[in-house]
């Protein structure tokens, strides 16, 4: 155990951690957007697009992120589609996460009672207004636990990004490993992930407590 070495590594881990966080952030925001769109498509049963969303969700949910990344990063360039590593990572994460988030939103939507919809319609709200003011607020509270679980899951999945040659935390740890500092680098690795993911986990626990207001109508 060489504490000096571990301390010397902090700047390196800081830089790598920043990359991990950036990729995770954009990936998760994108997955929320994709997931929300897919859930709305399925909720309103828009023909054709609904089936498309269904197929996408099943494909993404039932395959590992690593396989998706391999295909994106090593397969597609051969077809003439060259995607840089960072974009690849974000696309991969969003592809996977979109399906999980869609499921989360769908659960929330289906938990909103039918009476709520009918009441909204009879007040003369349009479909979009109904979505914005009646369904969404209630659905969000229901789907928040699932969204938070998926977010944490996606943040953990970011650990595979090193296979598309991105200098993230795992990549750095592998590098230091080769130099023979496995204990120090692994310790730093554990601490880095704790520092990144634990606050997110705590934040979501707080949000879930706050969002429990919407128990009515179901």
């Amino acid at each position: 155990m060489d504490l000096d070495f571990a301390i010397k590594c902090i700047p390196l881990f800081w830089a790598a951690g920043k990359l991990t966080v950036t990729l995770a952030f954009f990936g998760i925001i994108l997955s929320l957007v994709i997931g929300f769109i897919c859930a709305v498509l399925q909720y309103y049963r828009i023909p054709f697009l609904k089936q498309l969303a269904g197929i996408y969700i099943e494909l993404a949910r039932n395959t590992p992120l690593m396989v998706q990344l391999f295909f994106l990063f090593f397969g597609l360039p051969r077809l003439g589609i060259l995607i840089p590593g960072k974009t690849c990572a974000i696309i991969g994460l969003a592809f996977l996460g979109g399906a999980y988030m869609a499921e989360a939103f769908r659960g929330g939507f289906s938990a909103v009672g039918k009476t709520q919809l009918e009441a909204g319609l009879s007040l003369g709200l349009s479909r979009l207004q109904l979505l914005r003011y009646v369904i969404f607020p209630q659905a969000l509270a229901v789907s928040l636990p699932v969204i938070s679980a998926s977010t944490i899951f996606l943040m953990k999945e970011t650990s595979v990004f090193s296979i598309v040659a991105l200098p993230d935390l795992m990549y750095l740890a592998k590098d230091l490993l080769k130099e023979g500092h496995s204990i120090e680098s692994n310790l730093m690795l554990v601490i880095s992930y704790l520092v990144i993911i634990l606050p997110v986990s705590l934040f979501f626990a707080y949000l879930e407590r706050r969002a429990r207001f919407a128990g009515f109508g179901s």
Partner: protein
């Protein structure tokens, strides 16, 4: 193709073993978590939370590279992968067990006792059958997640489906320009074909039993 099947076999073998062990360890862990003893429940909670936030890949690294240094234990990559997946799976399983046990209304237990059944009889004939019903979809779900986690063993050099695929691409890539597209596309579909029926089955059970 034959080599891919070998890789697939390793993938399936590791995930099945890990799921089995996870269920085996997860049930007592979950009962401990549901137990009234504060200290034990707290300890289990810390264990679960740590597993929750720690990427599985990090744990693989920790056990594979550091354990041997610190304690001088040399573990094979296979052993480490099953160990890590079991530690993770048991935590998830424990949470499922806890949820299914605590979700059973207390009056089930009380009515059983009031009918004159011993507490062993109540556990065996009333609590366990109902808990299993609530548990099974979750366990099946865990199985698909385990299968989707196994590609991580790639990082500790186990020749699983991904590693074999990569090797094939390296060899065939010289001759066939599109080798990587086909091989990785094929692996994508293998995973899909394995996981999709399992997740359909889990959804079917959920629909039927709740």
């Amino acid at each position: 193709m034959a080599r891919l099947m070998e890789g697939l076999w390793i993938t399936v073998w590791i995930s099945m073993l890990s799921v089995g062990l996870s269920v085996l360890f997860g049930i007592p862990f979950g009962l401990l978590m549901a137990a009234k003893t504060r200290v034990v429940a707290k300890l289990m909670r810390i264990y679960l939370e740590f597993i929750r936030v720690m990427p599985i890949l990090v744990m693989l690294f920790l056990f594979y590279y550091s354990l041997s240094r610190v304690f001088g234990i040399n573990l094979s990559a296979y052993f480490v992968s099953v160990l890590v997946f079991t530690i993770w799976g048991a935590a998830e399983m424990a949470d499922l067990v806890r949820a299914s046990v605590t979700s059973l209304p207390a009056h089930q237990w009380e009515s059983g006792r009031a009918l004159g059944l011993s507490s062993l009889q109540v556990s065996l004939f009333i609590i366990v059958p109902q808990a299993i019903r609530r548990l099974l979809p979750g366990v099946i779900n865990l199985t698909t997640r385990m299968i989707k986690t196994t590609p991580f063993v790639f990082f500790i050099n186990i020749p699983d489906l991904m590693k074999v695929g990569q090797q094939i691409v390296e060899v065939a890539g010289m001759r066939n320009h599109l080798a990587s597209v086909w091989v990785y596309g094929f692996i994508f579909f293998i995973y899909f074909i394995i996981c999709y029926p399992i997740s359909l089955f889990s959804r079917y059970l959920e629909g039927r039993w709740q």
